[in-house]
Symmetry: C2
């Protein structure tokens, strides 16, 4: 097997392991991966319309309705009416939601430092540069495929 494929497969393996690790962050909450993702992006964006969330998460508006329904029922977010557009709703984190995200950010930081615990700062820098390059190449690969598909 080529070295390139070995790196590709290793990245796949790491992707699965990261998912397993992150599942631990919300294991004790009523959250699921998709709901956690929405909560996370909502924290990053600030109060948002469901349209904006659908665009950010790259899912349908209908899907966002369901996710927000569940998050609202569990008290992580509330829907407020938009001050200037009476069609729209602003989804906003509650205190519980904000606190939950803060705990997850803390756990992510711990996982992240464990990740590189065995590497020298020089190796960490090399790794960061390598990953930057890989991400850039992958982005252009996927963008090219998208263009072909749209034609």
């Amino acid at each position: 097997m080529s070295c390139a494929v070995a790196i590709f497969d290793r990245l796949l393996q790491i992707a699965l392991l990261i998912q397993d690790d992150m599942a631990r962050y919300f294991a004790d909450t009523a959250l699921t991966p998709a709901r956690t993702h929405l909560l996370w992006e909502l924290n990053r964006l600030g109060p948002s319309t469901q349209q904006a969330l659908a665009t950010t998460l790259k899912v349908s508006p209908r899907n966002v309705t369901g996710l927000v329904d569940a998050l609202e029922a569990e008290g992580f977010v509330i829907r407020r009416s938009h001050p200037r557009d009476r069609r729209a709703l602003l989804v906003t984190l509650t205190d519980k939601g904000t606190q939950t995200i803060a705990e997850m950010e803390h756990e992510r930081a711990q996982s992240a430092s464990a990740l590189i615990a065995n590497l020298s700062s020089d190796q960490v820098e090399q790794l960061r540069q390598g990953l930057d390059s890989v991400a850039a190449q992958l982005e252009s690969l996927v963008a090219t495929a998208d263009r072909k598909r749209t034609r």
Copy 2:
């Protein structure tokens, strides 16, 4: 944001991009990600019982029944009776299944070489070592969490 968290988030981003890239491999087939995964593992294992597939994919036996139903309906696999255990079935790739996997392996090799196209062979070696270390750390992180959860 710490350097460790930057690497963690970069790995997450790469995981998503790899998923997008791989979706392209079976875009023209009747396959979905879960069915493709089963097909891929089946190719790696050779003819297997559904129990073995459930264990490998870390999924319930009931789930495997559904995936194999769909793959059999589309002609990618067939169920054969097990020669020595009349309870069991051996799921086996058809010619169509084997050929589909071969094409996907070809595309993976192309993606993989594009991945590292901008790196020197020295940088590739550094990246490989960094990823090996990260994967090992992640595995022990997840294993520790599993032990705690089981207690």
